[in-house]
Symmetry: C2
Subunit: 146 residues, 2 copies
DNA sequence: ATTAATGGTTGATACTGTCAACTTTCTTTC
DNA sequence: GAAAGAAAGTTGACAGTATCAACCATTAAT
């Protein structure tokens, strides 16, 4: 039963992970879709982030981020103000509510992470992360012209 | 820049993988969405598979499989016939076209896989697969009551 | 000053996943 | 054997996610 191609294995894992996350959020009354949580996380990370920055950081389309941010603002979790140095950019910052929610999310995620890593050695986990990174980088690299 | 949680790393990798796949398919004139390809793969694997079996194997909702299969049939890649032993079940088999396409898909996937694994030792890859499997199993396992 | 590039937004559309209801066909139980 | 229940498949409705192209407003480049 281990005849899984890397792609299948990946699908399976991410699918299971997302499902676990969704359930955990629901159990904790966190009523946000996963992508919203991830965006919020990005906004909480650095001060004065922009839509563009988040889109790049998570390798996502900026239009998608725009929409997610719009909903985060509507939910009172994020606020935006025009960058004084650049009239086009909007600087995003979490509201206190946003930070508080982020706090809870962090706890939930840590728990889920621990559950996922259950029975695995720290080295194994570290290697997994390293491999994941390396593979993603391989794929993102523009294809070598044949 | 390596402050990625496992969840983020996973998202990034699967996203990159899907993108690479989609591009590869397009380059090879394979005009099927990824989920369709995966379902077709499942159908080509064992003889006389059913919607149910595929849904279970790939941990997906049977309604989704039903729809995918419907389109695969419409595309002439799969055919179905009623199971002589069970009037409810429909046995799915690939058409010659389906098999031929699968052949090409396999090549494309292998290439993509190699690109993804570029620079990684076979042991590392094997370990990655093992870890992926273990983690998915951890998550699928019903949560241990705390 | 004109052109080009950038940050953000919107619209359109496709793909993916989830849930619930329903039909048809077994299977179980009496 | 008939009624109740379970299983296989289908359909509808919907939420979430991703992609692409077009579009303002503002800034940078020439």
């Amino acid at each position: 039963m281990s005849s899984l191609h890397p792609g299948d294995a990946l699908h399976r894992l991410l699918h299971a992970y997302k499902r676990a996350m969704r359930e955990a959020y629901r159990a904790e009354q966190i009523a946000l879709p996963i992508s919203h949580v991830r965006a919020l996380k990005g906004i909480c990370h650095g001060r004065g982030t922009t839509v563009q920055a988040i889109a790049e950081r998570m390798h996502r389309d900026k239009s998608q981020i725009t929409r997610v941010v719009k909903e985060l603002r509507a939910a009172g979790l994020v606020q935006s103000q025009t960058d004084p140095h650049d009239g086009r950019a909007r600087l995003l910052t979490p509201t206190p509510e946003g930070r508080a929610l982020m706090q809870r999310v962090t706890v939930v995620e840590r728990r889920a992470g621990e559950r996922m890593m259950h029975g695995l050695s720290p080295q194994a986990v570290a290697q997994f992360l390293a491999l994941t990174e390396a593979m993603a980088a391989n794929l993102d690299r523009p294809e070598i012209a044949p």
